[in-house]
Symmetry: C2
Subunit: 426 residues, 2 copies
């Protein structure tokens, strides 16, 4: 057995199903060559003698997957929080992202981001960089060092940006994309590229055509934004009069899911029925970004419906529409907004349960990365140790209550261990 | 000049008006005998030589006022978060509050609460205890030691509780209340009693009549709950067929504001027009508890309307409907839910701004305690030092941006100093 074969001992929680938590107190979680060998109440004989990290009763949960966030926006999170999406993009986000042409600035900003991602409970993430090739490669270098498994995309945008944040032409955008892909090919263990047309208002049809070719040639997954905010949706309708709904603006170029084009669409707050049906058909992943949808006054996505219809749903922090990379907080936010949706919009759609948001943050989003997000045997060994000793209580608590408290109350101090594919991050 | 005369140096922020922030970088905030002497860009000659605590550019803001929270609920915050108000009270809250008959349990639980309140940015609070006299006095003892200025109420409830959490009769409840008032009279510097009928469903008319007599005799302020949740409101209508709206159930006994009965009503999520008019007429304080109203699926209070109509509005953490005593977080929650209300309920009611929630958390609620919540000369010197050094950033930030980040991102590590009426807490 090699060095990535070991056990963790503690209170082990993972999703048995989208609505059921598996809990093993004083259990052993075994990692064999980077893959989970399962959870045991006693260490099986074949594993006697492997190294064992005893967490003293801490919770051990699968690593969390962040399906949507913008690394360059991390440094200005939680400022200028009084605007809707399009005004926020033009007034704050685009000028700020322009700064990443300066590699020194990019290094200062991305280093802060990488450090905080490392300390978080996140083990996998799908990340937007900016349109800058050098800055994107720098972000990839920094994220590689964290040990997290991430998808990172150089952003494409050839229209409707400010002069400081727009590519010269569709051709230039496509050429830069190929340069980026060729320069980084084979460079990383942990980081892979993901094709990233910003959103329809930022990408001409000509660019989308070229990106589709690149997608096919390099077999890339795709990430973008969908049906987030009324202003944005109305704009897409104007820009794409030939489409029946926003998703078709991606689908007409073959970049909206399907077996050869795994796709994450962030937000999906206001999807019409046909769009939902197409997402389901194509296996498009919904990145539910509850806090961002609140902060940018977009609304509350109908996640209950997506779950009922069997769509793939994971959680996204959506830095800097959202203010924190904590996916534990994202779970709490998702429960909370689902309650307000139930009360204010549609009381036939039950609020989300703790079990459901936990599933979305683990296996729901993790499955975009393969066998990720569970401790069942055969899953990649992504695990996080949560220590709740700084949250004292006079009464006994069940493991589920301890998990719920961490979802609502934890910060980086509670995250005391992390493994990705069996590699110890800390 | 005595020992409570000193200066703090830093970036000083307070509300010039409900919509305007006063910001003084590298300023001096002077405390003279426990009262603010104002903010100065240079230390005036008459204060040369007084002790000065240089915060190295930290933000200095007025102490925050928590207008509504339940101390006995602190230990079970962030658990069982999948119920509406009445089910949550019966299933979780009432059984948990029953435990405070046991003074040892009460001491363990209240000590955790008092410790966390001390570390928070809160300098003033209006707190529910339980119906137990001894437990309530213990809480008062513990809160006295923190140095915070608090109002604490022994809870009255003589109907609709479980056998373990209900007073024997209206007479017994009233007698216990008098015992509590007499036993604690003159005992504290920092803690005062507040009359606390739990809410109409918990209090018979006979009890309310007796409490009104006590209120007048002892000149007590009053705190209770109002129009929080549809289930509760319907129940009150059943219980009080003679009233036109919930507020009348208090008003008919003379406990709904007015010059001789300062009153805090928590929640006010679903107040009809007549109720709002009466609150305005009587100067009733609204304790806006945004997170709690979300967690218990109650809805979103029309705070914009209350501000426009000139009602007194402060913020409440409403432990354990809310999960945290952080009023900085309560500010963020209030902005966020106001955005969802604008999007989902009524787009004629603009979302709340950072300035407005900051005002509510300082002077808005603070004024219930007198001249509290401002740094204008003559206000009690309640101040909090906020250190944001652990939130690095590559770009320059304005003081307002720094404040906004602390509202969204801070935890107890960021609160590095606190003064109440000029007394240094830490």
């Amino acid at each position: 057995m090699n060095e990535t074969t070991f056990a963790l001992k503690g209170t082990i929680c993972f999703s048995e199903s989208p609505t059921k938590l598996s809990v093993t107190e004083n259990g052993y979680l075994v990692c064999e060559n980077g893959v989970s060998a399962g959870v045991f109440t006693e260490l099986p004989e074949k594993y006697q003698g492997i190294p064992c990290r005893d967490t003293n009763g801490c919770l051990i949960i699968p690593g969390l997957t962040d399906l949507h966030l913008h690394a360059p926006q991390y440094c200005f999170r939680a400022t200028g929080m009084d605007l809707e999406l399009l005004d926020w993009l033009n007034t704050i986000t685009f000028p700020q992202e322009s700064r990443y042409a300066d590699l020194e600035y990019a290094k200062a900003a991305y280093s802060i981001f990488a450090e905080d991602m490392k300390k978080s409970a996140t083990t996998r993430a799908s990340i937007f960089a900016t349109l800058h090739v050098a800055g994107t490669e720098l972000l990839m270098d920094l994220m590689e060092e964290t040990g997290l498994k991430t998808l990172i995309g150089k952003v494409n945008m050839d229209r409707n940006g400010p002069p400081t944040l727009q590519e010269e032409s569709a051709g230039a955008s496509a050429r830069d994309t190929v340069t980026w892909l060729e320069e980084t090919a084979g460079r990383y263990q942990n980081v892979k590229p993901i094709l990233t047309p910003r959103f329809t208002p930022s990408c001409t049809d000509e660019l989308m055509t070229k990106l589709a070719e690149i997608q096919q040639k390099y077999h890339l997954p795709v990430q973008s934004h969908l049906s987030e905010n009324f202003g944005e949706i109305a704009w897409v309708k104007e820009l794409c009069p030939n489409t029946r709904f926003y998703g078709e603006a991606y689908d007409q170029f073959g970049m909206f899911g399907g077996p050869d084009c795994p796709t994450i669409m962030a937000h999906c707050v206001h999807c019409p029925d046909e769009e939902i049906a197409l997402m389901k058909e194509r296996g498009v992943y919904v990145a539910h970004c509850s806090q961002s949808n609140t902060n940018l006054s977009s609304g509350i996505a109908p996640v209950r419906r997506y779950l009922d219809e069997g769509l793939h749903v994971g959680l996204g922090s959506d830095i800097a529409g959202g203010t924190t990379v904590s996916l534990l907080r994202a779970m709490a936010d998702s429960v909370q907004t689902s309650k307000l949706r139930w009360r204010l919009v549609d009381d036939s759609q039950k609020p989300l349960s703790l079990e459901e948001v936990f599933y979305m943050a683990t296996q729901g989003g993790g499955s975009f990365f393969g066998k990720v997000g569970s401790f069942d045997a055969g899953y990649e060994f992504d695990a996080v140790i949560l220590d709740d000793a700084n949250l004292p209580h006079p009464q006994p608590l069940t493991p589920k209550e301890r998990l719920e408290r961490l979802v609502y109350l934890s910060d980086d101090r509670n995250i005391t261990g992390k493994y990705v594919s069996g590699n110890k991050i800390f």
